[in-house]
Point group: C2
Chain length 563, copies 2
């Protein structure tokens, strides 16, 4: 049996070797104490002005150029490959690199345009990065497991190795997108940080003392560094939203069944009490709308048995815009949930929430309180569901080479436990349904006091108790995970940056419990200074169009000062 | 501990005692050998001409009269209560009788109309029967379990006893429906026949040698005897379709999440790999459309977390009608699946399928073959899923008073088995998803040879290998249960009656396996003569409007000779 460490290092080196020499950093990166922030000017120094122009254009701007052949797909692909290579060297955000294939695909797209005088599809020439759960031909899917190297999801000789593609990959290709890299995850996917025995730790590019977040951590870091204009992550407890927030990005966790998960690798695949969902991350809401709308034009419900037949609904966007335009009485109503009663978010988060409330009021909209069925009940169910198999799946995968479990995962899955039985699972599913029903009726009931006749339009709340986690200090996931049990469509709204001069420690605070104390103590204004701060905007099930439109309105009002 | 037999009999007697003396049969019913068929003229002899007129009007006709106050709700309610009382005495089809409450509700509706000059809702004054899984205030839900008598789902002192109502019950009341009885089921719900230790066996009113079917057996028998114009059953393996077919009724198993199951009693509640679904049964497709459309107008997705937000879509009906009207080239295309390769249906079923094929061709539509992914794989998964808890739930319920398990259930659940673990359940869920995906792509692929550019519009197939089961001889459920795994919207189309002079035994047939042999041997033309014969019309997920419209077209063409 080969050594897991050597296997991991060999894989890491073989991927790094795919970076063209010309794109290697000329000198080692200074430590975070010297160069905390590697975004913006720092990474720009390694790029040409033209590369900067291209990579700092958002997805909507890119396709405006690529679908009219104003920009060649090849030039765009190359610029993003270059910048992604730099990003990876700075914060370890890639698992698989396939720049050559991407550039080749881009050339084919350019030829297509030259021949037909029109783009292949609505995403013609748009580079898209993918979390390392997507299967893409030509490369592996390790999901951070050393034991998956050279296999298909841990199995050898399946005939699918480096050939099989996930449903969404096929659809993105049909739409003209260019796939060029797969991004890092914590092995098991079950962590708010990204770390594994292949590429190590994925750092937050805005503040390298902090985590990029997880589990779609590579996406967060890569897109923040503008090494990709848009990418896809997955979320079973916050794994899209956490890193969107930590990196000042927009991102959405759609309701399960809105976008196709078919044919992707996963942890505990087949656990169907809380489904992991796939969703996009980007620097603009426009980019998120663009890729969702494009994917839905592919009718994924015909190719994924779990996808609901819900095309993109422009009218749902329009309904929000009509309310906003209506003026007098035409208000949106937001429920503000500053915390879940268990932990108090750190000062920057509390300030961000205040900023959003003031923005909402300045826009003439309304805020109301939110006193839903106890979140403690919900979170208890979530933790039980995540633990249904007692860790069997992840221990099996880690056991292939005998690699050690990384710390952020070990806090939950470290000790293998007894599996739940069918009866126990059923009992949890019943409690889950009852909680969903109560929450639904609570939400319905708000129609009585919003003043609009409608129930609350969206909830605004923190999605983590901190701006970003410090390494191995992601001590509470309850603020993001309740959304997964309720399957609500939820977007992330970047709000501000930590400012040590304003966001001071609340020295007089008496923590409510040991977890609350950990969160309270882990805030260090000096260390956090400059980090991104965000909140989440929560809509009901399958309200993706509404949630994105509301988030865009708030984002526009907050201004573009963040990224 | 009281004796289960005494408890069951006491319950049975207490329910029977609610039948007004004037409605009791004057003399004992002759045995089936003398009076095989108690429908039509036989039951009519105990009714007034006016009662016959009312009860032999279909739901659409009834509401035409009740929503215009042409008929008083009270008179309609009373007529159906009377006929239901007769039906119950003939075939044992009721678990709960609440005629007094129904007549009282009807009077309130009449008062409402008198006061407001308009009906309360689209179902104003329409009597609706409910399978004994619905909770209705004032009466119990035993689901056939002696141990549930005097409890709420087996538990005492919950405060919900005789007070709590299921979500759909609330909605039906909002719509103006009159609830008057709950119908019989086999205890556990997991059988194609209806039998329990409270009311005994529910017989097929058209041929009392045969089963009414199960598990919504009481609905089948009651509606066939026109003791109810429309009722609701549930289906996790055929439990709506089986008895619709056995009783010559229209019925639909909608896709899961189309109609609200919220707040109903169930077996193995929380098992969410194959969900039981609720759907209506009636003498006409119009009645099914009426109640589904009405229920969806209540926006059940706001009150049941498992319901999809899909209002009734008139345009989906229209699409079918437009195809039919288009004439030349405007064909519907049907896939014909005569069997699943495991058992050969009995002669009447094979003839019924021929009749349907000829009807389709006469109408100018088209039939094609159907060679899907092997159904054996599907059925193996279904049986595993039904057995996830090893029988824990049903043994617990039966164990409350120590009552014996009835034979049709015992063949599957008789011996308690080991429970599946979380990992095993997940593995089955993955196989299920893969099968769904393959079946979906197979269906998509038919677009290449239908000649219409569309994939096959619907599949026509038997839903049981026999016209109706003989007692304790329901030996194969594979023809109905595969639909549940794939979650397809499926309606029952009554076709003909068994004719012993045509449907002769195929003496030369060599059975393929022991089950096939049992099915082959259990056919007795003499015994089956006169029984109803039906097939099922299978559409894709959430195609209820399309499936009902197609079934209506075929039913109209087949003629009204059946009922």
């Amino acid at each position: 049996m080969a050594n897991w460490k050597e296997l991991g290092e060999a894989k890491r080196d073989s991927v790094n070797a795919l970076i063209p020499k010309a794109w290697l950093l000329p000198t080692p990166l200074p430590p975070p104490t010297e160069q905390r922030d590697v975004t913006g000017k720092y990474i720009q120094q390694f790029l040409t002005p033209r590369e900067i122009e291209i990579t700092e254009t958002d997805a909507v701007g890119i396709i405006k150029n690529t679908t009219t052949a104003t920009w060649k797909a090849r030039e765009v692909a190359e610029a993003f490959c270059h910048r992604a290579a730099l990003a990876h060297q700075m914060v370890h955000c890639l698992h698989e690199i396939f720049f050559e294939a991407a550039i080749n695909d881009a050339e084919l797209l350019d030829e297509y345009y030259a021949q037909h005088g029109k783009p292949l599809g609505p995403l013609h020439g748009l580079p898209i990065s993918l979390k390392d759960q997507f299967h893409v031909r030509g490369v592996e899917t390790t999901m951070g497991y050393v034991g998956w190297i050279g296999t298909f999801e841990g199995k050898k000789g399946t005939g699918k190795e480096k050939v099989y593609e996930s449903e969404m990959v096929t659809e993105l290709r049909n739409l003209g997108a260019i796939l060029f890299c797969k991004t890092s995850v914590p092995h098991t996917l079950m962590a708010g940080e990204t770390i594994n025995n292949i590429i190590g730790y994925t750092w937050n590019p805005k503040n390298r003392h902090l985590a990029a977040g997880g589990s779609s951590g590579g996406e967060g870091a890569l897109i923040r560094l503008k090494g990709s204009p848009v990418g896809f992550g997955t979320d079973i407890g916050g794994s899209i939203r956490i890193l969107a927030a930590f990196n000042g990005l927009y991102g959405i966790r759609p309701s399960s069944g809105r976008l196709p998960y078919e044919g992707m690798a996963n942890s505990m695949d087949g656990q169907n009490s809380i489904l992991s969902v796939v969703g996009p991350l980007a620097n603009s809401i426009g980019a998120l709308k663009l890729v969702i709308k494009s994917l839905l034009s592919q009718q994924p419900w015909l190719h994924d048995p779990l996808v609901a037949k819900i095309p993109w609904r422009d009218e749902k966007e329009q309904e929000v815009l009509d309310i906003v335009k209506a003026g007098n009485g035409g208000q949106l109503v937001f429920a503000i949930m500053p915390d879940d009663g268990f932990v108090r978010p750190q000062p920057p988060i509390r300030r961000a929430l205040d900023v959003v409330v003031k923005t909402i009021e300045k826009l003439g909209h309304k805020v109301v309180d939110w006193n839903p069925p106890a979140h403690a009940r919900c979170n208890e169910l979530v933790f039980k569901i995540w633990g249904f198999d007692g860790g069997e799946d992840v221990h099996t995968a880690l056991g292939l080479p005998g690699e050690p479990m990384c710390a952020p995962v070990a806090s939950f899955y470290g000790i293998k436990k007894e599996q739940y039985t069918a009866s126990q699972i059923s009992a949890i599913n019943v409690l889950k349904r009852q909680y969903q029903k109560e929450y639904m009726e609570y939400w319905n009931g708000t129609a009585s006091h919003t003043g609009t006749g409608r129930p609350v339009d969206a909830i605004i709340s923190p999605l983590a108790p901190f701006a970003a986690a410090r390494p191995d200090m992601y001590d509470y996931t309850g603020l993001s995970a309740w959304v997964n049990l309720l399957d609500y469509s939820t977007a992330v709204l970047p709000v501000t940056l930590v400012d040590k001069s304003i966001d001071v420690v609340d020295v007089g605070y008496t923590p409510k419990n040991p977890t609350d104390e950990k969160i309270h103590r882990s805030y260090d204004p000096e260390l956090y200074d400059g980090a991104h701060v965000a909140v989440q905007v929560i809509g009901r099930r399958f309200q993706e169009e509404k949630v994105l439109t509301i988030t865009e309105i708030l984002g526009d009002a907050l201004g573009k000062h963040v990224v």
